[in-house]
Symmetry: C2
Subunit: 358 residues, 2 copies
């Protein structure tokens, strides 16, 4: 809407529009890439101090190299999982201190789960339940860490959450996680009305939420009344503009290479990574329940999120999108003491409250 870039790209777009009309067949030699100069990007100013503090300065060159490589040996994987588990334990302790919830293990259909109950269940939520699918690239965050995102959800939503501690790769690649999610769902809807039950998760858990709904449709099983999908790993093929535009800008994932690519290989195995039960963005979204998607402007999975949102809307689904300023991948889950996190979970709770049957 504004002239720029020598004559101006706004004018360029105008010229192009005109040219495209005059010449409907598209040129084969479409430019493929854009060179972006090295830049210094300041921390955003219109975010909370908590989020601002989480946005770090320069990446040391050695760390960048390590990120891009990712673990390559069984020992490096073991080491990374151990360090993740230690950090998870600290997060759990901090969340338990911050939120008055109880967390109890329960086996459901032979699958390990964690039932997270808030101090007080809201009256409107007494007949409702949420099933949660955790993130961690299908290789991390097993055990009680599975429940991390369920804690703020139970607290802010004043609702009972069942977190599925599904089997992880590499020991249990696709479709183990999906089978566990479906098995728990089938059991949950024996005692809850499906329309009173929601399904949610972030990152791999967001992708798995979408894959689970697709699988329930295939099996002609009742669908949830609503779902909340946080920055989903909806495409395991590294397709999506923000894999590139937000590379090194996202503080959490940093890059789609390295750890993320290595984890994808472990989960996908010999399957087609574009199988919609693995990369749900390639699936058909007709008949999906109302869906709320959450992401941030710095999220490496911004495109993974908005591509799903567009496809849901094209399928006529009641799908809403929230994008947080300056936020990297799933930061609202871990920065649970930031106002943005409270806001994200409160919106998700409101969405479930609006769409789930009582």
């Amino acid at each position: 809407m504004l002239p720029n870039r020598h004559l101006a790209r706004a004018c360029g777009a105008i010229l192009l529009a005109t040219a495209a009309l005059a010449q409907p067949s598209l040129a084969a030699d479409v430019p493929k890439a854009r060179e972006i100069p090295a830049r210094v990007i300041p921390a955003p100013t219109d975010v909370s101090p908590e989020l601002r503090q989480s946005i770090v300065g320069p990446f040391p060159a050695a760390e960048l190299a390590a990120v891009r490589t990712g673990p390559t040996t069984a020992e490096e994987w073991r080491d990374l999982r151990a360090r993740t588990a230690a950090a998870d334990a600290r997060t759990l302790a901090a969340m338990r201190a911050a939120f008055a919830v109880t967390i109890a293990p329960r086996s459901i259909a032979g699958v390990k789960t964690w039932v997270v109950t808030p101090a007080e269940v809201a009256a409107e939520n007494r007949g409702r339940v949420l099933v949660h699918l955790h993130g961690g690239a299908y290789v991390f965050n097993g055990g009680e860490a599975a429940a991390i995102e369920a804690i703020p959800m139970a607290h802010f939503g004043r609702i009972t959450v069942i977190s599925v501690d599904y089997r992880l790769a590499p020991d249990h690649p696709f479709p183990a996680a999906l089978e566990d999610a479906v098995a728990v769902w089938k059991e949950v809807i024996k005692t809850s009305k499906p329309r009173s039950a929601g399904l949610f998760g972030a990152s791999a858990g967001g992708g798995l939420t979408l894959a689970t709904v697709r699988r329930l449709k295939e099996l002609r099983l009742p669908l949830p009344g609503a779902i909340a999908v946080g920055t989903p790993w909806s495409d395991l093929t590294k397709t999506g503009d923000s894999y590139y535009t937000n590379e090194f800008i996202d503080d959490v994932l940093v890059t789609g290479d390295g750890v993320l690519a290595a984890a994808a290989k472990l989960y996908v195995g010999a399957n087609d990574p574009k199988n919609p039960l693995i990369s749900p963005v390639y699936g058909d979204f007709s008949g999906f329940p109302p869906t709320l998607l959450t992401t941030g402007t710095r999220d490496l999975f911004l495109s993974n999120t908005v591509r799903v949102h567009r496809k849901l809307r094209r399928a006529g689904v009641d799908a809403e999108l929230q994008v947080f300023e300056g936020m990297s991948h799933a930061e609202y889950v871990y920065l649970f003491n930031a106002p943005e996190s409270r806001e994200a979970f409160t919106e998700i709770a409101h969405f479930f409250s609006t769409h789930l049957a009582k």
Copy 2:
């Protein structure tokens, strides 16, 4: 949700969350900036061929320099406006060829407007009207070019659109554009029910849409039944993360320096650029009508858009957001033959159809 960056930023976020809890006062020495290495960013693949073709390759160094400087003399401004007007004329001709609409000048309350009528007004829209405020940084796109965005809106929405050809800077700085918008609105609602009338625009027109609603509230005048705000210039102070993260990635605006900064100066004059009637993101959004916001992952104004969305939601407004993959600033307006443009306008039309009274 995934370990990365040496130990891993996911773990980093966990550690930080824990640390922040243990030590609630935030450090004063928060890192302020991030060095991003030079990168090559491929054109996105999950976009239409039309949008893909509009995403260009490397910026020649000379062009980058020109963008960053912007016009500095009256002659350079004249030249830029003339070239923009010539490109606008080509766009208008192409749009007239593509869409069967009629465009008629009409003076309303002494303000120049263009009434755009589609080939057929939908039955449900016979008592409805949309008022349109064009983009162009408050300095470009006067005359019949004011109606460019109104043409696809009238066509896809099958609704009559009145496009306000408001006075432009530098001859008429703030608040001339706002006064013209309010004057037209007051006249329109003499013959249309306010709840049956919508207000929309992109870029400067998106910011002006928000400022107009605020001004109508101040004047205790009836508000529109719904508004559609495309990638609004909601903050003229270059605040917002995507001014930096999407610099040189946005094909249309490219950078917030140069032309954009120069135009802001002309419009703001001696006023406070944070005046909410100039930069509406700083205003109070309570009582706003239902709002649909549109942007893209490459948009320099992605933050200008999502910051407004969050503030609307915090104020309890029924506000929805759509973000198009790989799209730069307001590209859906000019790439009107791309599927994404049809989709954006169809969603906007659906939103008005849902929320405007008949």
